[in-house]
């Protein structure tokens, strides 16, 4: 049983184009049975924040290759990638590296 979490979700590098151009979203994740990890966060984002072209952001149950995920300014590979359990007031940043040069 997970309590509601308040998390800041940020998009950069062009990923914000898929979210109406808004870079920072302060979201409150509702309490639910399963704990909130990045995997569930992605599902939530796809359902609630993503405005168009889901295939450009999500592939399978992870992000599309080329999109970096930083949690509190640290690489998510250090934290367990999809299995990292979100804490309250965490900041998750998705940077698309595919755009621009």
């Amino acid at each position: 049983m997970a309590a509601p979490l308040s998390v800041e979700v940020e998009f950069g590098g062009g990923a914000e184009l898929l979210f109406d151009g808004i870079k920072k979203h302060q979201v409150t994740l509702p309490g639910q049975e399963e704990p909130w990890d990045i995997r569930n966060l992605l599902v939530w984002i796809k359902k609630n924040l993503l405005k168009e072209r889901p295939e450009l952001f999500i592939q399978g149950d992870s992000v599309r290759p080329g999109i970096l995920v930083l949690v509190n300014d640290a690489d998510w590979e250090l934290l367990g990638e999809l299995d990292y359990q979100l804490q309250d007031q965490d900041s998750v940043l998705f940077i698309s590296t595919l755009h621009g040069g």
């Binding site: 970096l68 300014d73 640290a74 250090l78 755009h99 621009g100």
Partner: protein
């Protein structure tokens, strides 16, 4: 290893999976700091070590290929994107260091506004330009902003490959650096306000808003914008559009460099981008030019050399660095923004490589290392042959060779001209009307040799540029804005003028059905070494990763990797 029915999705049954780097781990370099980023496969770096690693790579690439001489004027091609922004920031930091390790060239920045090609309104473009100027003023180098429309006003000389300046040898480089350092010491001893470089720096900072007087603020002429939009709208495939944009942008940047006396241009191509570019170039038929397209230096334009100092940084490192150290960049939508995966060969290759990279983390570095081994060998030993009109590479087509399928295909292009007797072919006075406008003229009883001119132009293109041009469809009545005066359409000798606006004239006639179908194997005039290296190395694109095929010695590597004092 590769068996039918084997499921690659299963984890390799080698034992327990390697432990994930977690908070318990320390930075692999200093063994003390808390790691923030994972580079390559499993190397966790802390913030400071990552910064040192990143900066060191940049300096090492410049120092290893000793091409940039002290005091040289270098133009930084900045697109606003993360890689080029990072490059500009590195140069800015590098110039401000203490004297032993300071970068010693004189930079300028150019920004190309490509909004017209992407269909942006002038309002959006102006907004982007305002952001761009803000950042450029912060950086403080002399800067130039040009709109892509200005490519129509380029003088014909851009298409001529100027005489090559002799590339400095190692001896020259060392001598140049030593004399520069001596000069610095002398001036420092005489008490002239510090080293010449710092006075140069002051001069630069004294003119931070050096805007090119030829490019005042304000929208470019509407007819040029419209011509550019029409040109890009008339291109059938996104692949050809991207290639065309690349060509136009390159020539525009080179023109700016030549006009303002820059002898080098730095572009921010990263390791990932170059790996994708290598594979894409192969698919586009540019196999003969891989060494120039993806190497550190690209001397095909003669007097201006394009260098790629970011070629060892992956996109992930660039993105992390920009985020951790607040490097400003400007986001501009491009022609392939939000394009689906199969929209172009570039997109397809990008998706392929990045997906492969996710499963086999050494993919990009293996492909990149292959590009390091490519040798720039001229075809059959003749270095001074005709060059492609668009990409300025030595032509890889041999029109005399009609026995191969490739030869037959290229013959077909030149068969496009209508069967007029040779005496009538040079219809010079018909088309070269007053300066400024040329219409598809029907002054005579027959249309003047538009097919003629198109065929002649095609003859002077390399294989991949020919294929690209097939996707460019001309509008029914091409109104071509000429630059540089009346232009004889009849004969197009190799070194003659051919404004880019003529691209609008090139359209496939109804009979030509060649497109990006299954093309016959092009005869690629790469040196046998390069071809052999390619085939050999690509067999290593499996989980193995470490390509140990030491073939032709890598271009530009000096004997000593250590740099001290003479480092730039």
């Amino acid at each position: 290893m590769c068996q039918v029915g084997e499921d690659y999705g299963d984890p390799a049954p080698e034992g327990p999976p390697p432990p994930r780097p977690g908070h318990e781990l320390k930075c692999v370099k200093c063994k003390e700091g808390l790691p923030v980023v994972v580079i390559r496969a499993g190397d966790a770096f802390c913030r400071d070590c990552f910064r040192a690693f990143y900066i060191h790579k940049f300096r090492a690439v410049l120092g290893k290929n000793r091409l940039i001489f002290p005091g040289e004027k270098v133009l930084l091609a900045w697109s606003g994107g993360p890689s080029s922004s990072s490059m500009v920031w590195q140069v800015l930091e590098g110039l401000g260091r203490d004297s032993a390790k300071r970068l010693r060239f004189v930079p300028g920045v150019v920004y190309v506004d490509e909004g017209a090609a992407c269909g942006q309104s002038w309002k959006d473009r102006a907004r982007t330009l305002a952001d761009v100027k803000l950042i450029l003023q912060t950086v403080g180098f002399p800067w130039h902003t040009v709109a892509l429309e200005e490519v129509f006003a380029l003088p014909p000389s851009v298409l001529r490959c100027s005489a090559q300046e002799p590339v400095g040898t190692m001896g020259n480089y060392k001598v140049a650096v030593d004399s520069f350092l001596q000069q610095e010491h002398m001036l420092g001893a005489e008490g002239v306000g510090g080293s010449p470089n710092s006075t140069q720096g002051e001069e630069q900072l004294g003119q931070p808003c050096t805007q090119d007087p030829q490019h005042p603020a304000g929208p470019p002429p509407a007819d040029q914008t419209e011509a550019l939009s029409r040109l890009f709208d008339s291109v059938k495939t996104l692949t050809a559009k991207e290639e065309l944009l690349q060509t136009l942008r390159t020539h525009l940047i080179l023109h700016v460099a030549r006009t303002h006396g820059y002898s080098k241009v730095m572009t921010g191509d990263s390791c990932t981008r170059l790996a994708i570019k290598l594979m894409t170039s192969l698919a586009l038929g540019r196999g003969a030019f891989l060494a120039w397209d993806t190497g550190f230096s690209d001397e095909r334009h003669g007097d201006v050399v394009v260098v790629r100092p970011m070629r060892e940084h992956t996109l992930k490192e660039v993105a992390f660095y920009n985020r951790l150290f607040a490097v400003p960049s400007v986001f501009t939508p491009a022609i392939d923004t939000k394009a689906p995966e199969k929209a172009s060969i570039h997109r397809l290759m990008e998706g392929f490589l990045l997906r492969l990279q996710a499963q086999f983390p050494s993919t990009v570095s293996t492909v990149y290392r292959t590009s390091e081994k490519l040798v720039k060998a001229p075809r059959d030993g003749c270095a001074a042959g005709p060059r492609c009109l668009l990409c300025m590479c030595l032509l890889d087509v041999d029109t005399a060779d009609s026995a191969t399928a490739f030869g037959a295909q290229t013959q077909d292009c030149s068969q496009m001209r209508p069967p007029t007797p040779p005496a009538e072919a040079p219809t010079v006075p018909c088309c070269s009307t007053e300066v400024g406008r040329v219409q598809n003229c029907f002054r005579g009883t027959k249309p003047c040799g538009r097919e003629d001119s198109r065929a002649r132009v095609i003859e002077q293109l390399c294989y991949s540029c020919r294929v690209n041009m097939k996707d460019v469809v001309s509008p029914s009545h091409p109104r071509v804005v000429l630059g540089g005066g009346a232009h004889p359409w009849g004969l197009l000798p190799r070194s003659s003028s051919w404004p880019f606006s003529a691209v609008a004239l090139l359209g496939p006639p109804a009979t030509l059905h060649l497109g990006r179908g299954p093309a016959p194997q092009p005869k690629v005039w790469a040196s046998p070494t390069a071809g052999g290296v390619l085939e050999g190395s690509f067999q290593a694109l499996a989980p193995v990763g470490q390509s140990s095929q030491g073939m032709a010695s890598p271009q530009g590597l000096a004997g000593d990797p250590g740099v001290s004092g003479g480092e730039q």
